[in-house]
Symmetry: D3
Subunit: 319 residues, 6 copies
């Protein structure tokens, strides 16, 4: 086994001790990173938020909570840290006072990361932060996406023509050609609507939109079988908006919608991704000011760990 | 389409902005109301509470949270504001220092409202606040009722003979002849019991009592099919006690009982009411001091929106 | 009916009134207890906690919340207080500043309790507090156990050889011969793992380990049928770690694991224990500092009431 | 030293352990009380509250917090439990559903208590609960009063003529002749006003009204010297409304007014009462739902302990 | 007395009832406003925030809390609603997704307001929201300012040259000539510093900078005497950043600095402004997500009421 | 100026971004530390706590909050990072399951630290964690101490002879000869007492005990002048128990005592230490579970910064 980075063990140092890095892994800034396969990155930014703010604080709270996650997956017995080199790269540069500049900073950072052949597992940030990541990953070839969310985030604009908000990233990504709508599936959609524009546009572009009622009725295996077929073997991004969960599981988010998934259902969904070629993933929209208990962030990091195990297998297989 | 009142859109004015009226609708006091089909009313009162207080604060918190609800129902695509005229009538008069006087004030108000041919969609208040509303609606003909609750609220008296508490409203309403027990169904009953008096009395009167275990086992469709049969085509009231939800979905209530419904299950139940002749409805027992996060109130207003869509169809059909 | 202790009724004295004893029962210290069949005891101690502390505060909060529980079980109509004599014995002696001394004090107390022929229904305390109770109950004959938990608590040691923590009690109990591994079943196991040592050891000893995925798939009736078969007719202990519940139902605990049981599922499981010979039980790991709302403690006391009803039947039958 | 009741020591049993009685004293119901000099009583009732509710929950939270108070006063070295017999009498009967009946129940209880020659140290309850206590204490001779509060509670009526609310108790007590206005001083008055009626009436009756600005400018010694002169040697009641404290020290109350006293200032005021003939006292308007942390209740019990030390000296001197 | 708008009285309608407008005044949108002397306006925006977000939610929470304020000032007996016409104008338009556009919208709104001869009393919003208000008020003649704050907000730029943040508004206002630095005083400055640039620039421009240590040592009367001399008789703006208060009095803010003013001290300072020609004022930086209790907002609205009384006198005198 | 470690600036990277190290300084583990003058160390341990637990979580929350502190002291203009090399050394090893072992681990660590000629500025941990630090610093020569606290922590034993708790560290340190009682002053003592043993013993040993009443009456300058005289020029330790602050400033602590210092008063006291030879310091007893808002921890880190500035001057002077 190569000399991969290992997390500090809670059997040796208690879990509340030590500097809070993700998963108790070493922190290595991107510029110093060598041989990193999967890089955990924070995007402390919420400039695209149109409603309740806060995701700028998520990376810190998620790192703190991540000490609660141990090294081995309880069902698959995968230890991602034995399969590849995983590192906490810290946070990427942002700008809380200017949306355009912030998008530029994040995009630049992730292009450097991709150039180093690192697969990003990022913590938002609001959902607009997925756009610059997709610009980096899909620069050469549009990626496919499995997207868990209460909302489509396919709106065109807000407040009289403003194009960059957390309700619009995937419309932009599709328009820019970095996301392939025909290889995109959105799961868990729900909540009252302004109108039907986002759904209509998405369907026209070929996105598969799955409302939560359908997801529950068919069950996780059937839905994810379809998802696997849609994204196929090619490069796939996973975007997990924490508001796919019911607000009782994720009160710390900006636009909660009741009637959502339980964490158990979410885990069932994520566990059906094994074998896919996940080239990047994010968990976004955790808003610590609306959940000081940290349980939302904790749910978020467990979802990151579920995804990490699958990504680590993909890296291992690709060698 | 007639010139119905429309809510402020979150795509134009962000949802956290503006005076907090229900659903971001115009506020028109009852005395000025003209051509209103459905009136949203707050009953800021909890004088009937025998345990943990607080519902007096519910209408304000529910109005605040109601900005999170958009105009179109996600499944039925109903926009209630396109079907009839819905208005926030503000709060009715109450008296926190005297139960009898408070009941009188609420009854008087709702009789005026009924006289204006407005269907009330009210926010309690504790469950005793349903009694004066039923007195107004059932004055001429007893109404039927679909009642979602953890408790029967059919007790006779408390503390040595006191007849008016939030545990007794429907016994009083049946005794007074404003509620038809044979057209009444109670769904979600659970929690440990003092004795069996409330159940025994209800059953004797012909009320259909559905414990949560039965409701879960049979499923929402079957239970609601029975409910539809029980209430039939005639005038029906809907009373939704927020404690029908499990306490994790509704911590902000006075008498939580574990093992309750999820919001998803509650939505499934409510959606089976389409086509019924709902002449009034309430969501009661939200207690903000026990949930400063507002998520209980938010669940309550989404339930109001589910009911509103069905009421609006009923109004529209009745024209 | 003998002259058993009766709880204060909420129909007479409101539930928020009076000294907070468990279930509003009389408080009688162990040394004064006579003719007590089932003794509710608090173990205000968390010296075995390796992660987030707090269960030392649980007995007080649980007593406070227990006023919300009424006297009759809603489905079985069992009134435990009519079947046998149930008393709140108060808290047993502890020592927050020394683990060994604390274990000794608790063991001594419970041996006295057992000598008085009282069946203990205790409130932890962290899970290490079950060890001295088992030492008392299993002194002559090892007991069997139905154990609800997210974790096996079968680890060998922490922090370089320390043998007494809340992650090790049942390994110690099995080694000491007070717990029969072949008559032990653990239900609800989940969460990421350090390694596989606890599972491997437990399986080697003959403990039946049921992961939550299996429990959900098979359902409560099948799982509990197996549990009944495993423990048989002989003396059985029930240990309910509150973290068997999902963190949304029990945020107030030290080592939450997402993806857990709902309270409704937990009730379904517990209700399948009727007829077993339960000689003692505990609900542990409630941590009030992580849930000031008290809802975790409330869930805990309802679980205690579910168990109490079954214990009371067992006592009644044994006469 | 006689065989007075003693509190459990935190050096022996940790403070979080044991049944929560006031000051960790024995609980003896009034009907069993013998030889009690000072009786701590809870009045779990808030039926007079016109604004935010909650004091019905105060006695429980105050008992819980009272474990934090040790037995000896740090400056005077008074140990009240060495000077006289102090007991927790539990809660008096109340009725949350009817104001008149509740007032009657409390009055009846306190008349029995006074008949047993016990001096009451009660925990409200809202401020209307002081009225029935005064009716018992002042039945034969009107008492004087040192009253700490942000409000005069001398209003005439609310909501169109309702005479019994927490804003009116002392107007009623003066009208009924159980409180001597000329031997009454109110300290700490502040907050915006409806009109000047309460002040005008109080001044006309001879009550000394001290606004907080005057109290701060003159200082605790000067103000209390005047208070001592006003009440003289005769029977004096002390009523401490927790909202005399600034809301940061007492967020858990129904009608907070910013710009209040610090706890340090409050202690300075109370310590100037030594030597007065305090025949009864209360701390009221603690509202736990608005302060789950318990710090408001904790401040309240420390104020009770400050008063208790002075009452105990008065009892001791009177023998 | 002219027919001025009057607030709903808490003696008639309880304070928790009714639609939440500021001070329970009528809500009249700016376009409909006639004869309004002082307009309360919300600016639900925090796009200039460089640290913890949230003031976008302040106007709603402040309106809700403002029901706790009664109509008469307790010391001066001023009833502002008897001196002039005060109205809640609702919220001005904003844009959470674009700083420049938001500044433009706010400026445009306030220019209309000034054109109607209304004096604004606004609720931020973060402190950058004061800039567009000053642009409207100081368009023709630069205004003077009494500024209460922990910070100078005189920085030049953030994050590499970004000029519009909540740390820069007054540097911009001085540069743009809408604020007269020689008629500006800043009171309460404290907290660790990046460097000395903001202080050096302010002093160079002639701003009087008063650190909290100096303010406490000299006392409110002396400091405010100097402030009165500095601003003189001419048009003066008052800007009250809630973080001038110590964080215990105002936890709900983005950049708390310990060691701040008490609310009592703040009231003393504000009460020394009587007689000044206040043409506009704001209370900013209240951040509800960091104080769900609402006490920060409550402190903010009491400060608004203190200022309102002085503004109303100024209006009255100017007639 | 030498090449000292510098904190990340909030003007460049927003304060909510980046890995949470103390003061945004580089993290260098002790074994890698070279040329470090002052080392910030966390002691995540609360095994000595006899009441409410939690300080094991303090170092993490304090690091998170420390991003709010900027680099320059606002009054003295000291930038400690320009005077000497300050580094975050991370947390020292602990053991939550065994008091003796934990004390040994901490002592061993700090002896290594002292051997490297680093002055420790540590974050507890409960107050027992000061004992092993003093054992390291006072090994050769007993140190003097300025101790800010509500309690003496000079008790002899708890729970029947247990010698190592957070109420006993300084009695042990004096007995062991690592702390010089005649060069020790304790400031801020208050709260009700078990008995007078701790005070009597301390006074007998020559410790100067200053009750808060005396401290307030004499004022910070006079008290600290005496403190300076007591400790003199020799090696002095500063121990700051967060409960010296009033509970409103520090609710997040285990044994709050009302009537404490404000943060402004605490700052005034600390600022009088300039010029002393501070060889080590700690801030202890911050308990995050009792203050999820983080404001207690924030107050703690500002106190650390105040002390750091003085320590840095001492280091600089000693070169």
């Amino acid at each position: 086994m190569p000399n991969f980075s290992q997390p500090l063990s809670g059997l040796v140092t208690p879990r509340f001790g030590g500097i809070a890095t993700w998963g108790r892994l070493p922190h290595v800034p991107l510029e110093d990173a060598k041989g990193v396969d999967i890089g955990v990155v924070g995007i402390p930014w919420d400039g695209g938020t149109t409603n309740r703010p806060g995701p700028r604080h998520a990376p810190r709270q998620m790192r703190d909570q991540s000490s609660m996650v141990r090294r081995m997956h309880q069902l698959t017995r995968i230890v991602p840290y034995d399969l590849c080199n995983v590192t906490d790269l810290g946070d990427c540069p942002v700008n809380p006072a200017n949306v355009e500049d912030a998008l530029k900073r994040v995009e630049t950072y992730f292009k450097k990361l991709v150039a180093k052949n690192i697969r990003p597992l990022s913590m938002g940030g609001d959902h607009l932060s997925s756009l610059p990541v997709l610009r980096a990953l899909g620069e050469k070839n549009a990626v496919g996406m499995i997207h868990f969310d209460a909302h489509t985030d396919l709106y065109d604009s807000y407040f009289g023509g403003f194009k960059y908000t957390h309700g619009t990233p995937f419309r932009r990504a599709i328009e820019e050609g970095v996301l392939d709508p025909k290889r995109t599936i959105q799961i868990g959609l729900r909540g009252s609507m302004y109108d039907n524009d986002d759904f209509a546009w998405g369907e026209k572009m070929g996105v598969r939109l799955v409302r939560i009622e359908e997801a529950i009725e068919k069950g996780p295996k059937a839905i994810m079988a379809e998802a696997r077929q849609i994204v196929g073997d090619k490069q796939t991004y996973v975007s997990f908006d924490i508001d796919m969960l019911d607000p009782v599981y994720a009160p710390g988010t900006g636009t909660p919608e009741i009637g959502g998934f339980t964490t158990r259902e979410a885990q069932s969904l994520l566990r059906e991704m094994r074998g896919l070629n996940i080239v990047g993933a994010d968990v976004v929209e955790v808003s610590p000011p609306f959940d000081p208990s940290g349980l939302t962030a904790y749910a978020g990091v467990v979802m990151m760990f579920e995804i990490l195990c699958t990504m680590a297998e993909a890296v291992s297989k690709s060698r």
